[in-house]
Amino acid sequence: MKHYPETFKISSALLFLIALASCTTTTIDEFRQAETGIENNESVVILGRRQASDYETRSEFVDCVGERMTRGDGAISIVPEQEFVDAMFPWFEPRTAPLRTRDLERLMTEDVVADRMTEFGIRYIVWLDGFTETTDRSGSISCTVGPGGAGCFGFGSWEDDANFDARVWDVGSLSNVGTISTDATGQSYLPALVIPIPLIARVEANACSRLATQLKEFVNGS
């Protein structure tokens, strides 16, 4: 009976270490090519790149970045991606969307496109491109159900790596004004001692949060 407090301490320490280990490391790189700034009546649209054959930028991540940019100090007016793409149809579909600012310049010669851009008050278009990859899966967990009850035993772990680039186009000057890259990595663990305890590294959520903060500052010119 005397061993229980010690076992509890060791278990707590182990869980604390694992919880620490499941933290996420996020790196942000900013490359500015021109001065930026935004007026109160202007807005930003964030669009996901979907031209790659083996992945596509998830709309949930695009929504997450947009939603976070509308919060806090220096909040920015964001036009929802789907609303913008539908209103601009068929000019911003995966096959027809401008890949370079030169293409945007050509696109803006279409009166319909220029009028819609003005209606939305778009000052910047942010192109998000990237995905989250899960690697280094290891360990195994087995679960059993019997007349006396059920339980799982084992240990699993994996690493998530989220890589996203945000290219910022100025619709006023029809030029690329900068690129912000984010790289977030984190190790997740799933120990199971009767009950599985997921210790998940919030890699994509952290990448979203940091990228949104950096983008907000970039667009505001601070």
Partner: protein, 202 residues
């Protein structure tokens, strides 16, 4: 009493297991915006062939059993009904080519699906569902003579997600492919050589 209950439970379990082995039906549903383009000053009759309106594709598993039945005919009709009025000044949907010929329109448009392909993550080992569709677009004069007959392909994909069913992902990929068709058809119509030549004669 207990034997009767047992039989019923067994019957329900058998029905569940049988339904689990059956084909998964996907009726493609989505919303298609109207294109922002300048309409051509033409009156066009549209004939939806039953081969298009009733189009369904069956994907077979590796063991040869029917895995997915994807019905996309009606969604194609909805798509063309949204796109064509933005492309031409006047659009009339007709029930037959003969009816269209009697209307005295500038042209008759009759699209067909030639091929439909589905790529599942379980087979491609990629984290995306993909849909590829090949169309035969036919444009005829009021007397039924061919003006142009060309092939158009469309492609759509959607990523795998943990809380989304395969049926929902297939539907989303098909909707992306349909939007791709709408964008490439509406933007490239006047660039089809035969169509361009015909437009120059008007």
């Amino acid at each position: 009493m207990m034997a009767g209950l047992g039989t019923r439970v067994l019957a329900v379990l058998a029905a569940i297991s049988l339904s689990a082995c059956g084909v998964n039906n996907v009726v493609v549903q989505g919303s298609f915006p109207t294109p922002n383009i300048s309409p051509l000053p033409l009156s066009v009759a549209v004939f939806y062939d039953p081969a298009l309106t009733e189009f369904a594709y069956i994907e077979y598993s590796e063991t040869g059993t029917e895995e997915y039945n994807i019905a996309s005919g009606q969604s194609h009709v909805e798509l063309f009904n949204a796109v064509l009025p933005a492309m031409f000044d006047e659009v009339v949907v007709v029930g037959s080519l003969e009816e269209a010929e009697m209307l005295g329109v500038d042209a008759i448009f009759a699209p067909l699906i030639e091929e439909f392909q589905l790529a599942l993550p379980s087979k491609t080992k990629l984290d995306v569902y993909e849909v590829w569709i090949k169309y035969n677009m036919r444009l005829m004069a009021a007397d039924g003579e061919y003006i142009a007959d060309w092939v158009l392909t469309s492609y759509g994909k959607t990523p795998t997600e943990s809380m989304r069913s395969a049926e929902s992902a297939i539907n989303d990929a098909a909707v992306v492919a349909l939007r791709d068709l709408a964008s490439s058809f509406s933007l490239s119509f006047t660039q089809v050589p035969e169509v361009r030549d015909w437009l120059n004669t008007l």
